[in-house]
Symmetry: C2
Subunit: 247 residues, 2 copies
Amino acid sequence: MEEEKQTIRAVERALDVLLCFTAGNDLGLTEISQRVGLHKSTVFRLLATLEHRGFVIRDEATEKYRLGLRVLELSASLRREDDPALLLIGEMERLRDQLGETISLYVRDRKDRVRIQAVQSQQAIRRVAPVGARLPLSVGASSKILLAFAEPEVQDLLLSDPSWPASLSPEAYKEQLREIVQAGYATSFEEREPGAAAISAPIFGRNGKLFAALSVSGPSNRLTPDAMLECAPAIVGAAKRMGALIG
Amino acid sequence: MEEEKQTIRAVERALDVLLCFTAGNDLGLTEISQRVGLHKSTVFRLLATLEHRGFVIRDEATEKYRLGLRVLELSASLRREDDPALLLIGEMERLRDQLGETISLYVRDRKDRVRIQAVQSQQAIRRVAPVGARLPLSVGASSKILLAFAEPEVQDLLLSDPSWPASLSPEAYKEQLREIVQAGYATSFEEREPGAAAISAPIFGRNGKLFAALSVSGPSNRLTPDAMLECAPAIVGAAKRMGALIG
DNA sequence: ACCAATGTTTCGTAGCGTGAAACGGAAAGA
DNA sequence: TCTTTCCGTTTCACGCTACGAAACATTGGT
């Protein structure tokens, strides 16, 4: 049960503190200590260390903490010249212009999916999709794609994981995933967020393995089930072209 | 020579390991341990911790370490809706289209400057400017802007800092900065990188304090001293308009 | 086969991180 | 003005925990 990997507690705690800031707004010391469940003085020292390296800074006015520019520096190193997300942005823009909706690119990262690239719809009412967002793998069209086309062993691992919602029976869900493999795309209608719908198709690399899920999302009154059925071929086609672009 | 702030050694080391990856390429355990000057087993545990939280991952093929998507998640929180860099991108694009060169936005972060936004030139030969890059405050046109228009106390602090190159006399440099304040803009010609030139102007916030340096950079055979002199008014004007846009 | 280089595990020690408590300071309320 | 309250900061003794040497494992090169 318990073969925890050998990790360093203080570092783990520091990273937890950092992750608090994914919420977005600035945080005070006490608020952080409550959120991570650590003593004030412990968090104080952790924050002092993070600040010393520039990972967090203090807002001069409010005295609260926020992320520092060091994380921008790190993320710049993530986006390298060979970043697939950069290669695919052109094709994504073309699809956006064709369909008028927001286009996202998701990859699986452990037990979540992460939006690694996005081009926003130009319409007044649109889905806004910030790059970097981390979302659950249990709901949404792209989640189903990432699961349905994953290698069987990771699929089993994820569906049997304790973090998998008990309300979703693995057996029934697998049947649904098989249908998606058959169809070649997946849809979701007001599944994760009310008023939103999405349709997603898989992008395979040259090695034949799933690389990412291409997803079109918008308001559910525009992306009706019928409308999604209609634009599915375009999305599947774009995903196929993208697969040819990446290594 | 005294009291360092109270920080946590293990965390500090972990952050140093993370910062190794700003180089860009993937790193092996031994290489990291040499770079940060720590024992292999120590780095091994630090990396295991960073990996456990998703800040680094291992390339399946090469077994080397690289940054994980958690840093993308963090950087997304840095780019919020009220991010000034997002407000200014429109004006930057306009300036790019007018001058045909790459436009960058720099802010001072401690003893460095960081490029927080950029729009790339469309020309075949152009300056490429990745967002997030951290550069020294001692060379380059935008460095001079960030120093010249900084509050006097931080200017003194930076010029007297041990990290300031001894070859640049603070006295003479201050005189140069005064001239820049007079002119309202700064230039650099093959100063930091051979073959590159830049011209930069300050952006002030509503509070009258310096917010960032707007910079135009390109190959030195296009951005000749004469050409820079010619386009200076356009850049100063754009910087002024940008100042009105931010809070 | 050897050697060299890298990644992983073990283990005893002491140095370090920990959390309770006390301190200081600012803002809110009576 | 004097409380009260809430934050942030500092101190300190205890005992856990992170440390590094060394051994072990694994690979690839010659």
